[in-house]
Symmetry: C3
Subunit: 352 residues, 3 copies
């Protein structure tokens, strides 16, 4: 992998970001945090809690809002949204990106019936099976396996060691991280006296454009119909998407969350890490779910936040409270009885 | 991978399923849901909540019980258990299955001391180490690694990118999905002033027949004795089975559940997703554990269900209740005091 | 992989372990549990609950403390700490270890600019990219991918199918298990009206010496600065370490735990399995976190234990209590009202 040259004049960056320089122009070799940036690096202030670092930073320039500009002692690059500007500039400085195709590595195995677009890179040890299509500008990392009939859309990238089972369709501009497995069998078995009987998983997986899929995340194939992931969905690492799940556009899910079979998640949801969402639910658009929540009922009204769990406690306190949790129903009944007793006392004229 | 031809006459399926056709025979090219099936596809009704779709479906035929047969407006294929019939028929229509061996791919590396049965397929990039045995009719997907002395039983299949460490024995008719790692070191360290000292994990893994292991699931090797997985066990994706765990026959575990070291799980248990089971426990046969439960005590009576957690709430409600959870022990004491005060009031003759 | 010969005279082991034999010398071919050990095997007693097995065991010798020695009916090998002695002796009996280099496998692809130390083993199908350094005595398992500029320190081992992204530095004597992915992109996106905009992850990963990383564990690269893992850290399987996390020396984390972005975990912490730790926290040294806890606030005092959750209940009991959890705030208010009513009753002279 060749490394790109990532050096820019500050004025060049200002133009790309539609920003204004307050101070002197200079050469920027990279990005860093306010705390660690050097004279050759650009930094940014998006979170007000770091405002005190504006005076101590050694950064060559700092991305700030117009409101914060007068607090910058060095050079400021003034933009409407420093966080968005930082996102854009991070792409300019991504030394790992490399637009030059390296072609098909001699140690890759590509089936004669596969269709390989132009400017495609296929890494060492890759296996591309029958009737696979790799569209233009795809990058397939080393040791990936792409099975029969699957399609990788234009300009999508699979990092090393990704597995696509048969009949997986990936849209354009997707990024799939290492260890991800897309299209493995959904977990479906019919009980019988002789044990579980496998329900073969005959559907595939359909993934939209601009989807990012984290390391070691799994998306199972559908039982009959497909599993669907909408455009712009972002999945972190270690996520489990079961068979026939549908995820709406631009929904983002953090690491280690599991979504059980046939659940439909709306668009623009944000789901924190380590959540569990049970099967056959419908989750409305713009739902927000906090970390480590169990969602076991459908959510119909959009734009709401949900949680579960008890929150963090010192172990010694928690032990006492957990015992009481198991007495909660009893406590509730006793509270009710007390209320009735007190009411009776009042009725008897004792409390006026 | 060649694709099978999966076309059947409905009468042919009726014979295989021990079913009766109500309506006309025809050719069936595939399976689908009641909602999406076309005239050339077979569907099924197992869940009563979809009964209204019997009239609207375009399916060429529908698997139903005798009781439901008169509600089918088109052709019915009447069977005792539509769900079981669906499971069986799903196997007939699995276009991915292919009984024809493709032999050992030229890019696979097979150690001279390995034993390869008849009709075995070894995919591209596979590594088969010393003294490995692949029994008859095995299929080893591309880029799998099978380490020294391990055995893959007759007619078992490893999908792409599976890793078997040394001394892993897999029974017959098993299916292991991509990214699964079987036989990695259990997590064992002795504390010392100089830091953790590794306890080498000298046991192996013993897996029974007809076991399915999901994508990216891990089963660690034992410390001294082996880790054991019984016949017919079904493990979903992202499951962690720690060293020296024993899982009884026909137990099924859903995705993202973790079982800590030396725990013995009984037979015919069903464990939902995202559960945690701590170490050195014994779980009785036929235990059922609901989603995202923490199990930290042994379960001795069989056939019971267990749960933990607080259930899902709107975040705003949950925040109020969670604060109270931390006051629970205090609340319980105050409740007790009130009860005593009221009793005292009564004793003083005020409440008769 | 060649297997080592692991046979020792008991007197030889006594010398290595600084122990004393009570009974007769003999040849030891392996280790096993008290329950399963044969005459040719060494066992140990570390946990007092197994003391009754001292009389029933068939072990050729048993590692015990001086205090327990007189309870051993056969041969005892007396040491200060049987558990630590067992850890040391487990390394002597690890038949999988093999110090003899096998060199670079002909099917491995090693970039011309890579630096390969002496006595290095590179397995079949491995891909070593540009400017990678593999220091002396490294072992790289089959089908690993090591990307541009990464470094594997002296005597470190990657098991099969490990992925290192670019700019990952691994210290000496590390062990990384199969399916681990180190250096994948952190989960960073800026929201915009057109959807999520990717924040390229420009930092790397820096891992200390003697670190063990479990199967299918992921450690993401930093956004600007690196992600840091301290010396002697032990990570179990399926762990998620997000971007810019810092983990202090000798901290051990059990399986399926997730640590969100930029959180700093102290030294010598022990974190149980299936925990979630939210982002931007600071966790003090020597913190202990119990299984399946959610940690969402920083922990400043060192040496404390934390928990969350409700604990395990029979499902039928749990259902009743969970309903009450949702009434907790209401219950707390009613309890307060009752207390006031009772106080009023007392004030009115009714309760003296």
């Amino acid at each position: 992998m060749a490394q790109r040259n990532c050096t820019y004049r500050l004025s060049e960056l200002a133009e790309k970001l539609d920003g204004v320089i307050q101070g002197s122009d200079g050469t920027i070799f990279g990005l860093n945090t306010l705390e660690k940036a050097t004279q050759e690096q650009l930094s940014f202030l998006a979170n007000p809690r770091y405002v005190s670092q504006l005076t101590s930073t050694s950064a060559g320039a700092v991305l700030v809002t117009p409101e914060m500009a007068d607090q910058v002692t060095g050079t400021a690059l003034i933009v409407d949204s420093p966080y968005m500007a930082f996102a854009k500039v991070s792409q300019l400085f991504d030394w790992r990106l490399d637009d030059e195709s390296e072609g098909v590595h001699p140690s890759a195995f590509v089936h004669a019936s596969a269709t390989i677009g132009s400017n495609v890179t296929v890494g060492a040890g890759v296996v591309v099976d029958a009737n696979v299509t790799l569209e233009d500008n795809c990058i397939i990392g080393p040791n990936c396996v792409i099975q029969a009939g699957s399609i990788v859309g234009q300009s999508s990238r699979l990092e090393a060691n990704v597995t696509l089972y048969p009949d997986v369709v990936l849209g354009q501009n997707c990024l799939v991280h290492s260890g991800a497995v897309i299209g493995a069998d959904g977990f479906g078995f019919a009980p019988s006296k002789q044990g579980w009987v496998k329900i073969c998983q005959l559907g595939g997986v359909r993934i939209g454009h601009s989807v990012e899929i984290g390391a070691n995340t799994t998306i199972d194939r559908g039982a009959l119909d497909h599993t669907y992931i909408g455009d712009g969905v972002k999945l972190d690492n270690h996520i489990q998407i079961a068979h026939n799940v549908v995820i709406g556009e631009q929904t983002a899910i953090a690491g280690c969350t599991a979504v059980a079979g046939s659940t439909k998640i709306g668009r623009h949801c944000t789901i924190a890490g380590h959540c569990g969402i049970t099967g056959h639910l419908t989750i409305a658009d713009h739902t927000h779910i906090t970390a480590m929540s169990l969602i076991s009922k459908s959510i119909t009204a959009s734009g709401q936040a949900f949680s579960s769990g008890t929150g963090q406690e010192k172990h010694s306190d928690w032990k006492r409270n957990v015992v009481r949790f198991r007495q909660l129903d009893d406590m509730a009944r006793r509270l009710k009885q007390l209320e009735q007793k007190i009411d009776n006392l009042s009725i008897e004229g004792l409390n006026k």
